[in-house]
Symmetry: C2
Subunit: 152 residues, 2 copies
């Protein structure tokens, strides 16, 4: 399928929302959840995850909430996905801990690992700021573009 989980979507949406409201000191999980119609408790856990990974700063107590730990330009979509869904690999048998058992099967995986890197590169090149800026599809014809080379 190759798709993000809803959690990752929610996380990106929440960060975008925070990036769009820089004037406020902090926004509570409920604020963001209400803004998008996301289950509040679920979003809360997602925000906590991102806090743990250093993407957000949290503040308990009344008028508490979350704020971006860094400038929106310094947070990439890759980091968000990594924080929420964990490390991803395009191949099922991730060549990490426990490689593929099937005898010589994973010859496929070596080229696909490079695809994986390419995708990661694309996601790393996208910042929360980029997401927030594209509110209106009008300014789509901007010049900024990342170039990604895939070497087979």
């Amino acid at each position: 399928m190759l798709k993000l989980t809803k959690k990752a979507d929610y996380g990106l949406m929440a960060l975008k929302y925070l990036a769009e409201h820089p004037e406020t000191v902090a926004l509570s999980a409920k604020d963001v959840a209400d803004a998008y119609g996301i289950p509040a408790q679920l979003l809360a856990k997602i925000l906590q995850l991102m806090t743990k990974h250093g993407l957000l700063r949290s503040h308990a107590g009344m008028n508490g909430g979350y704020s971006l730990a860094r400038d929106a330009r310094q947070i990439s979509a890759y980091e968000v996905i990594l924080a929420i869904d964990g490390p991803f690999f395009i191949t099922s048998c991730t060549k990490g801990t426990k490689s593929c058992e099937l005898t010589p099967s994973c010859t496929i995986k070596e080229p696909l690992a490079r695809v994986n890197d390419t995708i990661a590169g694309v996601l790393k090149s996208i910042s929360i700021q980029d997401l927030a800026e594209h509110e209106q599809p009008a300014n789509r014809a901007r010049e900024g573009h990342g170039l990604v080379a895939l070497t087979l």
Copy 2:
């Protein structure tokens, strides 16, 4: 997460195997399954799927089996994944049939849709032939490389 299903992996492996054995007229599902230790019946269904999508030709009866419907260069990884896993979208709320119901939420999705296109482009640029050639990591330093531009 962002990973392929095992079925897609199996499908790619099977096509690679077929591409590596061009001399044989046809290989049965069992042949391929045995070669890689894949459950035979599962692989059979995958091969049938790819046949239905025009990637393979099938031949029933004794000495039957499957053969590539086109040259290995003309079959992209994208087509394989599409045939097996169906159309994929990186975003949960695919902007196809039933768009996101959440009020204004899917502002995120528009930039991610472009990421999606980029990934699709990468996968389209990879042929079964490419997979088959990379049997040995020795000839990795080949010159052929696809260039993918992501315009934010």
